[in-house]
């Protein structure tokens, strides 16, 4: 039986208590994306300022409310992608979902350990690995992935505007 300390690692509680990058950015030039988890009422509002010349995430701000896992994951995501090239942010999304045992091209239950290594694709998750304990609490996985799905949505929207 996984214990609470598996889920609520100290770094997660730290991000929950002191969320990074809270605030808003003017839209436009920034892109706004909203994510919602109807089960718990978690809400993530994400502002992305992307430099079109360098395809880099220049700035990120987050707003919204929710449980500790969703809010900590959002805060950690914002720290992880700020200043990073867009394609690296996309790699992070894939790597984070793999960490949460979500493998887009596979059916549930088909994954083995080799997938994770492949999908991590050399990406260093750093502090984000603290969220791995969430996998042992299946109903909370959606809380952890909400920020990342919202990021993906924001990047896709931005790309369709730029295209």
């Amino acid at each position: 039986m996984p214990g609470l300390e598996d889920l609520y690692r100290e770094i997660i509680l730290d991000h929950y208590r002191s969320p990074r990058n809270r605030g808003e950015l003017p839209v436009p030039p920034a892109t706004k994306a909203e994510g919602f988890n109807p089960l718990c009422g978690d809400e993530v509002v994400l502002y992305l300022d992307i430099d079109p010349d360098t395809a880099t995430v220049r700035d990120v701000k987050i707003d919204g409310q929710g449980c500790s896992i969703s809010q900590a994951s959002t805060s950690m995501m914002s720290s992880a992608v700020k200043g990073k090239p867009v394609d690296e942010a996309r790699k992070l999304i894939r790597a984070f979902k793999a960490l949460m045992s979500i493998h887009e091209s596979k059916l549930e239950g088909e994954s083995d350990g080799s997938d994770l290594t492949a999908e991590l694709d050399g990406v260093r998750l750093g502090d984000l690995e603290a969220l791995q304990g969430v996998v042992k609490f299946p109903v909370r996985i959606k809380c952890a992935t909400l920020a990342w799905n919202t990021l993906q949505q924001g990047l896709d929207e931005r790309e369709s505007v730029d295209a």
Binding site: L4, C40, E43, G66, C67, R140
Partner: protein, 412 residues
């Protein structure tokens, strides 16, 4: 405190309390969602399966007749429990959600048209909201909402205006979130005076209170078995016989017909007209046993026990957490049942429930299928502890201790 129920004996009747969760005794505080089952209910269903399992209303053989008698016997027990005028006023459905949809799809589709007002309240469960939203889209009926006051009661200030021209008032007898008990007789009188019929969501009332559909003077009352010690898959609708007679069938298929031709069909009599296909008749035997169990305790005693325990729990929460914990519901136990919703200032409902689970304390953390109410309360979700016949002060104490742990764990 004098005990109105011998809870240790009641608890011993429920096999699930023999197990542990995370090495701790099971503290089950989620009966408003679904109740646990006494041994007699499990035995009744096993007995039905082992001794007279055969489809009802079909076979001309002994066990089929026994099976049918058990099924119709269950209907009679429900009729008696609700004080229906006749057994035929009870229609079995899958659950109360289907019962509400039966009213919407059969009665309302036939009787309501564009602009016809349906009055509901802000404290309704989605089962008493969404069927009406569907009729708004499909028929252009007008949905009106009774607001709630700051002390979690229906705000009846504008009731006459809301009921003006209304065809139906559809309200809950007890809020599954706030615990608020509504005065159904008063609402029925007002609705009937305005020419509207009354549909009652009694999902939370029937398991916990003496319910008398005639004293309520309602027109439709929905209930569900799994919240009242019975199995899943079987609920029902009580309705006045003349309404049921005039209502068209809802689901078409076997059993609900007297004749089927190449050019049409003749519906069966009430209540079978609304019971298409093979019904969960084994579960009906379970429900009958659940009603026997509750009747042996006495619904007055059930209510008195829950009132005492709700008072004890509310007081324990207030004393331990003072104004750091917000209780969303009336304080006076005469005005409420044992569904207790609460929130800490800075801790999300889900995080609280997660910590409680480690101590074997089962509570619900969600919008409780009442999102309009969550919007009114201005919260995304609440944590809810709900009490029943097998709960006692030790369960309330375990809740308080575990909440104290959660508060400490998430301290800013």
């Amino acid at each position: 405190m004098t005990e109105v129920l011998d809870v240790s004996r009641v608890k011993a009747d429920f096999p699930i309390f023999e197990r542990k969760v995370n090495g701790k005794p099971l503290v089950y505080l989620d009966s408003a969602s679904s109740s646990q089952k006494p041994r007699s209910v499990l035995d009744a269903m096993e007995h039905h399966h082992r001794h007279h399992y055969a489809n009802v209303h079909r076979g001309i053989y002994t066990i089929a007749e026994e099976s049918t008698a058990a099924y119709e016997g269950a209907r009679a027990k429900v009729a008696k429990l609700l004080n229906a005028r006749a057994t035929g006023e009870i229609v079995f459905t899958k659950n109360i959600t289907e019962a509400m949809n039966l009213v919407a799809y059969s009665w309302a589709r036939k009787n309501l048209g564009p602009g016809d007002p349906v009055v509901i309240s802000e404290m309704e469960h989605h089962a008493n909201v969404v069927p009406w939203h569907i009729l708004v889209e499909e028929r252009g009926v007008e949905l009106r909402w009774i607001p709630i006051t700051d002390d979690f009661q229906l705000d009846l200030t504008d009731l006459d205006r809301l009921l003006d021209g209304a065809k139906l008032l559809s309200v809950t007898a007890m809020s599954n979130v706030l615990g608020t008990l509504n005065d159904i007789r008063l609402l029925s009188d007002a609705a009937h005076a305005a020419g509207a019929l009354v549909n009652v969501d009694a999902a939370q009332a029937v398991p916990h209170l003496p319910v008398d559909v005639q004293a309520w003077d309602a027109d439709f009352v929905g209930f569900t078995g799994h919240k009242m010690l019975g199995p899943t898959g079987l609920g029902g609708l009580w309705a006045r016989a003349e309404l049921l007679d005039a209502m068209p069938p809802f689901l078409g298929g076997g059993e609900m017909i007297t004749d089927v031709r190449f050019d049409g069909f003749e519906p069966n009599e009430v209540p079978w007209k609304f019971e298409a296909g093979t019904m969960p008749f084994v579960e009906a035997s379970g429900l009958a046993a659940a009603i026997d169990y509750l009747s042996a305790l006495g619904m007055d005693a059930v209510r008195a026990h829950e009132k005492q325990l709700t008072e004890y729990t509310l007081r324990a929460l207030e004393e331990r957490f003072e104004d750091r914990l917000h209780i969303h519901g009336p304080r006076d136990v005469d005005q409420r049942g044992g569904a207790i919703s609460f929130l800490f200032d800075r801790i999300h409902a889900h995080d609280v429930a997660q910590v409680l689970d480690e101590d074997g304390v089962c509570v619900r953390a969600s919008h409780h299928c009442a999102k309009p109410l969550m919007r009114v309360l201005g919260v995304p979700a609440t944590t809810r502890a709900s009490l029943y016949v097998y709960n006692d002060e030790s369960d309330a104490d375990a809740l308080v201790e575990s909440l104290a742990k959660a508060e400490k764990f998430f301290a800013i």
